[in-house]
């Protein structure tokens, strides 16, 4: 795997994402759900909301990096608020 140029931070990053995907897959199997319509007027399941959260978080982090500077922990706090909002209202 040396050719992939792994580092610990990137490995942790992917482990967190993999962990989230596995958790949500297990949740989806154990507790099936009906899709619902939120403020975006589209049907979403928990998985969709996770996707919207992750994609949005990527943009929030980039915006933070570009506008404020490399202080990502603060950006992550914004992401967390965003995630809560997505899971509550979308």
């Amino acid at each position: 795997m040396a050719w992939m140029a792994w580092t610990w931070p990137t490995a942790i990053f992917f482990m967190v994402i993999a962990g989230l995907l596995i958790t949500f897959s297990v949740l989806a199997i154990k507790f099936p759900e009906t899709p619902r319509r939120g403020i975006l007027r589209i049907e979403t399941t928990r998985g969709d909301r996770l996707f919207i959260t992750l994609l949005g978080s990527a943009f929030i982090n980039l915006a933070w990096l570009g506008v404020v500077g490399a202080q990502q922990p603060f950006a992550l706090i914004v992401c967390l608020i965003y995630a809560l909002a997505v899971f509550r209202w979308v």
Partner: protein
């Protein structure tokens, strides 16, 4: 009626997932790894944190390329969508000529990108190309290798030639699905041609047109081969679109770190648009059913 969703069927896509893992996910993970490191070759890497992302976000080069890319996508959409609808409206609805039109319209779609690029590269040359030679003979100063405007016009006309058929075919499919009763009702009401288009044809085509717009946006946003073959991103940087700039950075300059950061941001934009595309399509299907 709300049905509970059974998610177990997702396990059936595991084989595809494995395939995609090798062809896309693992290379993408490698790109993420590159984006936080620096290298001078020999597969030796040094941790550099987020500086490549900061550098890219602050670089005029990337924003300029993004601006050109958005302008390119905007212009081709503004031409191809109305033109495609216009062509579809004027195509024969049935009979032999309908089939002839359909075959002719499909031809440009069957030609590989690099061949399209080569066709237009030769077509536009003032020494041997029919278009370039004719324009030159008419006294019009046309040289796509030196003049920015000529380069842009060539790329846009080429893309319009290549892809308007797709919009036209989709719009045509939308038109064909309108029952005759609608037109008869319009005739009884003595509706004008414009009103028939505005209140019958356009609403009935809106589904396929959404798909056409999103498809054309995504495709034009990723365009690489045709401009690369025709202008190579020139003159200067005039037609250096995002993917051309990215390849220059990654392979030309071997700046793997910045190129990786650039790729990730580019990928995120494509991912966002694809998601919108998928969501709009699935929601349209649901509304129709």
């Amino acid at each position: 009626m709300n049905k509970t969703v059974n998610q177990k069927a997702w396990f059936l896509v595991l084989p595809v997932l494995l395939l995609v893992a090798f062809s896309a996910v693992i290379p993408l993970m490698t790109v993420v790894n590159y984006s936080v490191q620096d290298t001078f070759g020999q597969n030796e890497f040094f941790w550099s944190g987020l500086i490549w992302f900061e550098e890219m976000l602050a670089s005029d080069r990337m924003w300029d390329a993004l601006g050109r890319q958005l302008m390119f996508s905007g212009i081709i959409l503004a031409i191809q969508v109305p033109l495609g609808i216009f062509v579809a409206l004027n195509m024969p609805k049935s009979g032999v000529w309908s089939s002839v039109c359909l075959v002719l319209m499909s031809l440009p779609l069957l030609i590989p990108w690099n061949v399209v690029g080569t066709i237009w590269q030769v077509f536009g040359r003032t020494d041997i190309g029919l278009l370039g030679y004719t324009l030159d003979a008419l006294g019009i100063n046309y040289n796509y290798t030196q003049d920015r405007l000529a380069a842009w016009v060539t790329l846009i006309v080429m893309d319009v030639w290549h892809w308007t058929s797709l919009v036209a075919l989709l719009a045509f499919a939308g038109l064909k699905s309108i029952p005759d009763a609608y037109y008869q009702a319009a005739k009884i009401d003595q509706a004008s041609r414009w009103k028939v288009f505005r209140y019958i044809e356009l609403p009935k085509m809106s589904g396929v047109l959404t798909i056409a717009i999103l498809l054309r946006f995504m495709d034009s946003f990723k365009i690489y081969t045709e401009p690369f073959v025709v202008t190579g991103g020139g003159p200067g940087n005039a037609t250096t679109l995002l993917s051309i700039d990215l390849v220059k950075m990654a392979l030309g300059q071997f700046d793997l770190g910045p190129a990786a950061a650039f790729s990730i941001m580019y990928f995120l934009v494509i991912l966002l648009v694809s998601w919108v595309f998928y969501t709009v399509m699935t929601n349209l299907d649901k509304e129709e059913s």
